[in-house]
Amino acid sequence: MIVKGILMGMKKTILYDIHESGGAKISPFAGYLMPIQYHGIIAEHLATRNRATVFDTCHMGEFHICGGSALADLENLLSCQVGTMEIGQCRYGFLCNHQGGAVDDQVTYRLGENDFLMVVNAATQETDFKWIKYHLSKATHIEDVSDKTAKIDLQGPQSAKIMQKVMEDRIDDMKFYHFKHNRYKGRQVLVSRTGYTGEIGFEIYCDNEIGIPLWNDCIENGAEPAGLGARDTLRLEMGLPLYGNEISADRNVAESGLLRYIATRKKFIGSPVVLDESKRKYSLVAMFLDDRRTARAHDTLLDAEGEVTGLVTSGSFSPSLGKAIAMGYISKSSSRPGTVVTIRAERYELKGTICKVPLYKGATWRKNLKEFL
């Protein structure tokens, strides 16, 4: 086997030294040297499903967008409805280009009437910022606060108890996809009941200075450190899309099937394409494979007649389910759950069955927080 070396010239998050001294396996990801795993992807995956883990997501980008026309500007930029969000709510949506593809996928936090925090992917942060800035009216101000903001994800059924021990204010009334300001070591932090794992959990945004003590405190209170490898297998079991794989600039976002994040009663950049149902040729689907061998991104999907009908966008072994799973785009006519597809890799073929998402059915993320305190 061939082991690839680490590339040089990468950025590091404020938690890098902790990862290195903690024995994490470090790899380049989106321009950063990130921990891919601590003790093993499968162990960290199962720790998230059964207990609680912390993930360093400081590499992600955060933009503060405010001013008198911020709401109107975001309605134009985002596929999701923004005006219907309460203050204290967050919402997933696409930043579309004019072709209906995605500049990025993001989560917007409504801090005030015309005051928002937008959380974006690390790899697209710079292009996102330019794109958004270009489309803002003069009365709207945008600041990239990524470099001064640390972000830590605490996820898993035990995360609520840990969170309550670590934070100074109560968290028991926090609803799914809502956030609250809380205090840690006397400093204000923003905590949302969100995440990318399917489990009950939190994303914490704080000043860089308290990122390290917060990380250590979560671990001292029972959370296990986890890397981006487990984050990826966890999101795949939930059928959650990853920018660059399922979501991209040249793929109509409506083909993702995530229609509840696409408003039909407003105009936004890309909406003439996105809202035109005749432009949707493919559907994003999830698949169970017959065995342990995994499909990989770019493998082709064939229908029963052997005709190419789509392609794989993500594939992995599923630690919770004990077999391989995948996501991919397939012709709308072949996308019905239960359909058997052939997956053609470079040197072999695999069989898969299209299934409804989430593939993992035991997720806790939407449950009442009080059950976990």
Partner: protein, 127 residues
């Protein structure tokens, strides 16, 4: 963990002569680098392989890696238990995690492989 009774390749396979058979697996360094192994494609018994030929595949959660034959020979035995328990390679790469055994191999080719000391030095030079 680099046993003295094995020979090594730069691609991190080990080979150990057991009388008329030669067992092949991946090194502790390799399993550590790959992470959790989730699937092994075993060669078919009877397959004649040439030194350096890709003859097996080990998949981990994140990657797939070819396993190369350290020397030429015929596949005599395969470790079928890896089909259901590929994690044996992580747990015991030089023991229960062996992948296949060759017979009728070319013993002269062993001299082109690294001994334990040379492999250790090779790993250090890679850091």
């Amino acid at each position: 963990m680099i046993p003295d009774d094995c020979k090594y390749m730069e691609t991190h396979e080990w080979i150990k002569i057991e009388e008329t058979l030669a067992a092949v697996g991946i090194t502790d360094y390799a399993q550590e680098a790959l992470g959790d192994i989730t699937f092994v494609e075993l060669p078919r018994p009877g397959t004649v392989v040439k030194k350096g030929q890709a003859c097996s595949v080990v998949e981990s959660v994140k990657a797939a890696s070819d396993i190369f034959a350290p020397i030429s020979g015929e596949v005599a035995e395969i470790n079928n238990s890896l089909e259901d328990a590929p994690e044996k390679i992580n747990e015991d790469p030089h023991g229960d995690g062996w992948i296949f055994k060759l017979k009728d191999f070319d013993e002269h080719e062993l001299s082109g492989l690294m001994n334990a000391g040379a492999y250790k030095a090779f790993l250090e030079s890679q850091e």
